[in-house]
Symmetry: C2
Subunit: 336 residues, 2 copies
DNA sequence: CTGAAAGCGCTTACAG
DNA sequence: CTGAAAGCGCTTACAG
């Protein structure tokens, strides 16, 4: 591989000048700049990033840690993250945590090892100690998005999960439903607790008592939605007329369970999801769901991290707006 | 950040010894190894990867270029790629091409700039010149998977697209269908041409003439499946009784078009997809489709690339097996 | 088994 | 506007 020395020789100048011509063209005369450009082409030079990173002690790389690359929720968040990063001259390294704490640890280690300048965390399924030592005052460039940690001080981009879940529940109430079940995500997750709280408040405000057997927990997968949906729909004396699911995949699993049990949606059962993934418009019936501004979440999170890296004074956390999208999976309660 | 010097001081030895203790523990005495380990913990050392990369001129990073991160087909391929890479001590940098040739160029540039050791290409939507100069004999470590380039000599992992499409078509014929349409992916893509060829051969072998108006092209999205599905299903004098789609998302779009037009699947229309994405079991009805061994494709591709990097003698390209999965979206032809 | 020393390819403060 | 030189933090061939 040709190095900066080869370019300098070909351009008949020093390596310092080549470096300047490439990184700060305005610090160099027109003639020199042109000679260098030509020499670069001539010898087929490309800058050795390892050397630059070592010298500058920065990598212009941001690591984004995902819980699971297969989750369709994240694709648009990533697209938002990447657009801002690339514009600012940063690359994005996507790290799939794959429910593996060791892997997460090794992604975090990319920062002290000078392979990444900062981290965006899209999951809270990480060793707690790892994050505790890296709160805002530690100087570790870390931004959390989509989810958040209880009782930790970390810059975070999120939505108002309690409010969004509450609106969804209120909407079901407004359709005359009173037998409203819910399917939560993993119970330890703060956003799941918030969504559950929003559901509870929605029922309480309508004077409806919650039933423990109508509050089930899944793991955000199609499959768990299907399994828990079957339990809700064929168990016990009374059947719910509506189910609020904490994400779209589980809601789509519930739709399938209803189909298997020959329960018609929305005539006999209303189903609401959360996220508005692309697929929610292609299931049968189309899914009523809470739309999250996923692009914007990604863009805002990356902006925040880049601002932190530049030591700019930035808003510590930001809450973005959601919107309930009404489609075919919800209707008036039977007999209402 | 503490450096190797700080560790050497704390362990009362040279930096060379520290380096050895960390990278080749067997080259160092037990006592020294322990002193170094303790010193590392004491000063909170972590190796500067930029310095190591510069010195070794390798990055232990593989870049995987995806056409579009939102495409659910790739998640499992990636998981296969990552598992092999991590085991071998490599990281994976996922690059979203986003239909942007400039971005692809910059990903390729990571290799000469010493930020990546090799590239795995999961799309052929890249500037042709970029690949032409990097064929097998160029020494550029590049492996293509899932897709391939016509007339270029590049190590490739793929399936037999012609055969898989042919089997799917034969299956429809065996159900008594003779009015079989197809929905292709982007026509310039070699794998799409192969699948189309398999379809044509299936019809020819059954003595059925192809009809140009029954060979439509989409872009692999839900939406294009829906649009083209409507055209196939409401156009002209005769309606096809079966549609073979070149991926699952388009097939799911076709299912929706059929629903809108009140055409019952599979009673009045059979639909076959390709890929077997997770969603194909949760649409209504469940999709008959060609299963691709996505994990295995990923694993095999990464193994091949790592072998190439180690200069091992390796099979140049490998074809993995597919399987037709019969589900609820196909049935006997009406009146057959 | 260990150390002194060279060198990977850049960038940048300093001097002119 | 340009160059000489130091130095970023490692690894490794060489010598002992």
């Amino acid at each position: 591989m040709p190095t900066i020395k080869d370019v300098a020789r070909a351009a008949n100048c020093s390596t310092a000048t080549v470096s300047r011509a490439l990184a700060n063209p305005e610090k160099v005369s027109d003639a020199t700049r042109q000679r260098v450009a030509q020499a670069v082409a001539e010898v087929g030079y490309s800058l050795n990033a390892a050397a630059r990173n070592l010298r500058r002690s920065e990598s212009r790389t941001i690591v984004v840690i995902l819980p699971d690359i297969a989750n369709p929720f994240f694709s648009e968040v990533i697209s938002g993250l990447e657009s801002v990063a690339h514009q600012a001259g940063y690359q994005v390294l996507l790290g799939d945590a794959g429910h593996n704490p060791e892997r997460v640890k090794s992604y975090f280690n990319l920062v002290p090892s000078n392979q990444a300048d900062g981290i965006i965390l899209l999951t809270t399924e990480v060793p707690k100690a790892l994050v505790k030592e890296r709160q805002a005052d530690s100087g570790f460039p870390l931004v959390v998005a989509c989810e958040y940690f209880d009782n930790l001080s970390l810059p975070t981009i999120h939505i108002d999960n309690e409010q969004a879940a509450n609106r969804a529940t209120e909407y079901l109430v407004s359709l005359g439903h009173r037998a409203i079940a819910t399917l939560s995500g993993p119970g330890g997750n703060p956003i799941c607790k918030d969504r559950l709280a929003g559901y509870r408040r929605g029922l309480a405000d309508a004077g409806i008592e919650t039933r423990p057997e109508w509050i089930l927990e899944g793991d955000f997968s199609f499959h768990s939605g299907y399994e828990q949906g079957r339990i809700l729909l064929q168990g016990g004396s009374q059947r719910p007329t509506a189910i609020f699911c904490q994400n779209d995949e589980m809601a789509i699993g519930v739709l399938k369970a209803a189909r298997d049990l020959e329960i018609r949606v929305p005539e006999q059962l209303s189903v609401v999801g959360f996220d508005d993934i692309g697929f929610s418009q292609y299931c049968e019936p189309e899914l009523t769901t809470v739309h999250q501004p996923r692009q914007a979440i990604g863009r805002t999170a990356m902006k925040l991290l880049l601002d932190i890296l530049k030591d700019r004074n930035v808003p510590f956390d930001q809450t973005l707006k959601t919107q309930l999208i009404v489609r075919g999976s919800t209707g008036r309660a039977p007999g209402a």
